[in-house]
Symmetry: D2
Subunit: 341 residues, 4 copies
């Protein structure tokens, strides 16, 4: 932390701030400037956020944090990218570019099985599908719950694809974990710390979505909640942030890919379906995500988008998905990575 | 819903959309325009969001919702403002302007009791204080939990002030409800629908904060989650939204007050402490909130902000709080409302 | 500036950064930390932004500015609030709370004169009205240009109210200045530096609106463009910023009032008409602005909003304006300020 | 436009709105709903925005625009992508992917010539460089003005690369046009309509940057200002929008590429330097832009970023630029486009 004193601060105020820094367990180092003084606080990094309270002291203009508050997620702790085992024989974060695909919500046995077969044939390596749906309106379809999980398990049986599915309630963690291969945390729960802590105690990979108004630093702090409980298998997923633009459902922040790669060893996947909200925009964003260095994608596919119970407008039809995958493969090639199929 | 067809849409596409609207249980009414056609879908309002899927059909340019999706929160259901009983003898939403005050987090018996006595003397009618703290970093103080709830109860005993405190985990609802008079839902949980549904089954008032990236319409939909479970005592709290501006912690959206008053009968309170993040900005925003027609305030007060475990920079000292309340009273007067003290 | 070195930075990199700081005319002061080093650069504040380039050097993690870049607008240069003479006998920034009112655009002699008489009767002290209109669409009405300025002058003749009107093109500065008492810079021109520089050479007050995506610091830098050319009569106007919320046209940032009052001596007025976009929301925001400490208001009033060529939905009718002014007067009273009428 | 009546609206109010629609030159078509009525207004699309004023009428809940307000920029007017001649023998919007590169500001003959030679060797087809610089602070370097234009012309002479350079003041249009091959409008001038109109009368291509808070629809309306004056050579440039995220200077909105391609025939280029603000993030965004279907790039390159007078931190060194171009070429290949070099 750097404590910036006001121009008008006097010696007593400076001394009081120095004393407070010492009291909090840090050593104050004053830089005497031409028009004002600043103080560096030297010491143990963890816990430095408590120095923020100096902002309430007389003569203090500003307290400027200079360090990133996360540890386990940071490249400073682990410089090599993490490769995370999803299921035996399938890892993410390594040479293979991983595509997960499937409907927003599980609706029927037919729907989920048909989709699973189709996306597998096109090269997907994971099946996504929601059984617990967080919906803005209490009057919208809320998901098939355990029945949906069972249908996902059937689709896995049929195709061998591991399942990614969302958990929204700490109470359901155990239930969802009985079926899921990867537990998904949705954008509305990125800072549901009670849920994150429980997931940190599981022995399963967690796919953590970025919240609509979550900065990248906060996103990594949410990952840190899971990591610090002992679960090191966290996959980060950018899915669009909320901005003033209304042409898209959200603004997909693809620059998050290189930013995250500079700061963390965790794998990064992109969800262009929620990111854009319109199926016609999805393929371009899939190609861009691969080119920007993502480790994979999560794409909504529905056999009949106009009958979907949720998110139809952003779901690809199976044949459009297959066409996208074919072109995607060529961009992935340029990145010197591989893709199934 | 209004379905806007593309200029290039042909008769077959128009007919297909009409047929789909009928299939979904609505009657299509086509308006034939000079350059393009639009279709209105007439019928039962609840459930109309399913018409969104028409956007996936050939020839459709856009699907435009024209109605608000919430019901129980709306003025169309109840035109008179709701006055909500907090505890016997204390209501919000009526003639009295209600101020809740207290520290961000409960820290010690002394701290919470001293604050309670001070804020009561200054005219506060509720005591706020967090026992379960959702913190961005897993390494920050997470609250005293049940121990904190007990201290709040002691402070209530001492002063008679009812307690507003946050619940962050559906698992803790019962525990928190044993102590709290008003259950608070924080900004990170505005769309934690599992939590909202449980609170909808309680017989206690709920103070629901707006999320950092929650539109007013979504905010009302979150209230609807509670209302539709049977609990009609919902108090809405604007606490700042996330924007590009960094001079303040959030951007306090005071225009939300008249907007909400146009759309809902639920009471509206303002939290200028989180809204601005700087104690020096809080009094001006308290006055503005009252003048704009809010029903009350939630203000952070700490006996010694520079020792606070969280949010010190935005907490008022007790004497600054008292000074603010004195001036506030005169603005409340102009609004023809009353204030305690 | 504080230069934060990477954990991995070696001695050579540290030395190179120190050398570069010296070369740029500052003295480097290193604080040796437990896990990384930071360097303070001491010297003349003006021009310090050039130290940003150190960010390109090997071993540098981050360059953190600690000072505000504006000077003439700052409280450090002038601690007393500026009171600015609009015309002889009328000042803003002092004890009187000043309301300017009038239509978005001048349309006819009747319209502008009728409005001028009505707003004066209700207590307005300035007449606003646009003759040059920056419109999003080239196909929308672009203003009456000089003809409109002449009508404004007639309305001034009739009522004695000084005129506030917008200039959008550096080429028109001289023309507009022949008619206007206060030159307005609209939100789309807040960073039109060519225009600001020209206005800095005028001997007339400038009403500078904040841009839709302009931070408060950038807003003050734009004021600095005018001030640094010699014109010290700058009035700042907050008129809403662009956020994700769509219930209002913009999000009116009333916390900008106390923030600006902490940082600058310049007067601050609020435009709740553009800030909200809906006339029904305007009165509440007028009261809130006064309570928050603004020095005045700019309000759109039109004799017949449903016939307005622009911004009808946000314009008050004269009788609604008069009612608002009556109630406003009582809030202004509490602020210990005066109002005409 | 669709006019949504309130539930509580009575017959007289409905009739009054119908009458007003007719008076404004449109035919009203009422759809009688179960709980409320809506009215479609049929007629000439241009000018329909004037129907917005119906929002001020009694009984009206909302006025919903259903059409895009731009014409000449739209795909409905021209379905084939525009290929725009930059100089004889060089077009953009066709099969060739065009990279423009160069320093933020022209500083010396050596700097601009060295850069021009280097970027040409790496495959750039245009030289960018600013002679008139819009800077946030009046105390920052404002550009070399005409001297800079002359140096750009020398660099063109030396390399044959056409020049892209910014004009910020309508007064300077003629001067800049004497030197520039492509006139650039910066992000702060996207809605400087006076400037746009003048550029619409030139016979030169215009590179129009999107403003920091400009929606895609407004961006196309700004293009429309140029097109409607007769100049059909407009190149759109996305350069990042302002959001809450601070890890990047702006948030580069790559989804704008497919959105624009759905709505307009104009070519689209991406500026990842301003979009991200950090040179280390630029290459990933270049690859992503190409993969997403952009027609070209504008990239900042400086021979010695740590000596740059502006934007050093986001400028690539020539060798990093060359390395980026080599990898970029392979992504462009996959897009079935060509690149020079």
């Amino acid at each position: 932390m750097i404590i910036v004193m006001k121009k008008s601060a006097d010696k007593e105020q400076l001394a009081a701030v120095e004393a407070k820094i010492s009291e909090l367990g840090y050593q104050p180092h004053v830089i005497y400037g031409e028009t004002r003084n600043v103080i560096g606080a030297v010491g143990e990094e963890r816990g430095k956020e408590k120095l923020q309270i100096l902002q309430s002291m007389a003569g203090v203009d500003n307290v400027v944090p200079i360090l990133k508050p996360y540890k386990l997620a940071s490249l400073e702790v682990q410089q090599e990218p993490s490769t995370i085992e999803i299921v035996p024989g399938l890892t993410i974060g390594g040479k293979e570019f991983i595509v997960g695909a499937g409907p927003c919500a599980v609706e029927t046995r037919e729907q989920i099985c048909e989709t699973a077969v189709a996306v597998k044939a096109a090269g997907a390596r994971m099946l996504r599908g929601g059984a617990f749906k967080p919906r803005t309106s209490p009057y919208s379809f809320q998901g098939m719950e355990e029945e949906g999980l069972k249908l996902l398990a059937e689709a896995r049986e049929l195709t061998g694809l591991p399942i990614v599915t969302e958990v929204v309630n700490p109470r359901d963690v155990e239930l969802v974990a009985r079926y899921a291969d990867v537990m998904q945390v949705g954008a509305r729960n990125t800072q549901n710390f009670a849920l994150l802590k429980m997931l940190g105690q599981l022995d399963k990979p967690i796919l953590l979505k970025r919240g609509m108004a979550t900065t990248i630093q906060e996103f990594l702090m949410s990952a840190e909640y899971i990591l610090s409980e002992g679960n090191r298998r966290v996959i980060l997923c950018e899915r669009g942030i909320r901005t003033f633009e209304t042409a898209t459902r959200n603004t997909l922040d693809l620059s998050a890919i290189p930013v995250l790669k500079q700061q963390t060893h965790l794998p990064v996947v992109i969800d262009p379906s929620h990111g854009t909200g319109h199926s016609a925009l999805v393929p371009a964003m899939c190609y861009a995500a691969a080119a920007a260095g993502a480790d994979g994608l999560l794409v909504e596919v529905h056999p009949c988008p106009e009958n979907a119970t949720s998110d139809g407008p952003q779901s690809l039809r199976p044949d459009d998905f297959a066409a996208m995958m074919n072109k995607l493969r060529r961009f992935v090639d340029v990145c010197e990575r591989t893709m199934a199929g």
